[in-house]
Amino acid sequence: MSSLETIPIRRPEIFRFTSQPRLEKPSLIVGWMKDVGDVSRGVADFLAHAAGGRSFCQIEPTDFFAVGGVTVESNIATFPQSRFFHDDHSKLLLLRSDEPQSRRYEFLSAVLDLAECFKVESVYTVNGIASMIPHTFDRRVFGVFNSVEVQRKLKWHLPIGLRWQGTPHMSTYLLWLAGRRGLQAAGLWLEVPFYLSDRQDAQAIRSAVLLLSRILGWHYETEELDQRVKEQEEMLANLRQEDIEIDARIQRLEQGESLESHEQVELIEAIRGAFRRHG
């Protein structure tokens, strides 16, 4: 069992603890607050709720975020948060956090310092990735791995590897830094229909939770997630009935056709407007 009483942290002033749990070789799951299809936050919210909803530690924001005021989103003042939760039954250490605006290396290093203190065995990130699939299709999951070993270990769960060349996402940077410390880490990238990118895709979130459960041997009750998926499906089915343009374009996606750029934009706008009208 590992606890912070026995293991020093390099920069303790970054962390604010309210309790010091004892965990046995947990897995660290990292969920970011803003993401395609809200997949990352959705998974983190589900796991935090399942863990009792009380965080035991947070990262002080001053080094990593602009804290001169607050931003207002959907009429509500928001403030950056980086909170850790734990679930002893699932051997879970969870970070639910906004992406740092500056000093990303220091932020991610602090996260990995804490992971090492708790003797974390493996690190997982979860994200959404916009795709040209219709919402009626299963969400595929693409894997990103920081070593051949972890890729081999997870090949049955994550048979499709992501291909990417360009500016790295925060999750990929975290996996790479974890690899530098010899920590096994993998990223789960869930397909999200592009027209659901700017809202929560309940089906992608449920797929991610179920996959993580299979990988880590969890047994979570998912009735609430199932209900949200059902509601999302009903809502989209109603929209298709109400708007023949929406229906025609989604049908083309279902038949494997691609949409022109302007058609994609129009579908996104139509779905957005319809969701607004239906609250």
């Binding site: 220091e106 291909r163 830094l177």
Partner: protein, 300 residues
């Protein structure tokens, strides 16, 4: 975050020459060219993670194959008379505290290798015309180096630039390194190749200024260098600048006052362009920057 050495070179009282990316990539091109021409071997680097954001990730079939950062690399060269250490930095840290930290690391390496003299290379922005040969501004960190600098060809001290009376500022690592070296009692000289003020925001390098620096370094360090390739590049860049100025002068929406100033820029061959007010300089820069932005968009 630290210095990673691939091997420990055995050098005799080496001179260190540093160049980072900056205005017109003058310093970077100068030092990288000297490094290339001398076939200096890499022996270490400053670990980039704490200084820079990763610029590129390569993920192949799910596996993170590469995480690319701007490099800050050390090279060594055994010269016939003396040994050299080159530092080539693709980028400078944006955080001033990190800049200072990097300067300290460079001086740590210089100390370890026994470097007692450091040169940095960069750009000096002035009213020179792009068809004129750029001079090299030299700023030492110790008064006893002034006499030596007066002997350098095509080189001037701060006191010889306009009415500066020997005063000015050097931003970034080129300047900071001089300061940190001074606090460690290591001699350092910053060499700045002149860059026309209207090109300071241009998206391409300004090799003419790099050539001037290399000529000075080649002379004082007795390292012969064949600069023909760089000169060819400089000629191409100049031709490009002429084209841009022609296009700018032909622009319909150009204010009359600026149009007159552009005529002067296109009718060159004087090293002193005469007095330009701050407002005029600002207007010209704005128009030229706009044109360069359009031009670079076309290229991409």
């Amino acid at each position: 975050m630290g210095v990673r050495l691939y091997c420990q070179p055995d050098l005799k009282q080496p001179v260190m020459i540093c160049g980072w990316s900056g205005i017109g990539r003058v310093g970077l091109v100068a030092v990288n060219t000297m490094r290339r021409l001398t076939e200096a071997e890499p022996f270490g680097e400053i670990e980039p993670e704490g200084f820079f954001e990763p610029s590129r990730a390569l993920i192949v079939n799910g596996l993170i194959e590469e995480m690319r950062f701007p490099a800050t690399r050390f090279y060594a060269f055994h010269g016939p008379q003396r040994d050299f250490v080159f530092l080539v930095g693709e980028q400078q840290p944006s955080d001033p505290n990190k800049t200072y930290e990097m300067a300290e690391m460079v001086l740590d390496v210089a100390d370890m290798l026994g470097c007692r003299r450091i040169y940095t290379a960069g750009a000096g922005v002035t009213t020179i015309h792009h068809t004129n040969k750029p001079k090299v501004w030299a700023v030492p960190n110790q008064p006893n180096l002034i006499c030596e600098i007066r002997e350098y060809s095509n080189t001037i001290l701060m006191s010889e630039i306009g009415d500066r009376q020997g005063e000015g500022a050097i931003t970034g690592l080129n300047g900071l390194l001089l300061g940190v070296a001074k606090s460690r009692e290591v001699e350092a000289i910053c060499l700045m190749g002149e860059v026309p003020y209207y090109l300071q925001g241009a998206p391409w390098p300004y090799p003419k200024a790099s050539i001037s620096i290399l000529e000075v370094l080649g002379e004082i360090l007795q390292v012969p260098m064949d600069l023909r390739e760089l000169q060819e590049t400089a000629e191409k860049v100049n031709a490009n600048i002429d084209q841009v100025l022609e296009a700018l002068a032909a622009a319909d929406e150009l204010p009359e006052q600026i149009r007159e100033e552009m005529k002067i820029l296109r009718r060159p061959r004087r090293s002193d362009l005469g007095p330009i007010t701050e407002a005029e300089q600002k207007d010209i820069l704005e128009h030229i920057d706009e044109l360069f932005r359009n031009d670079s968009h076309k290229e991409t």
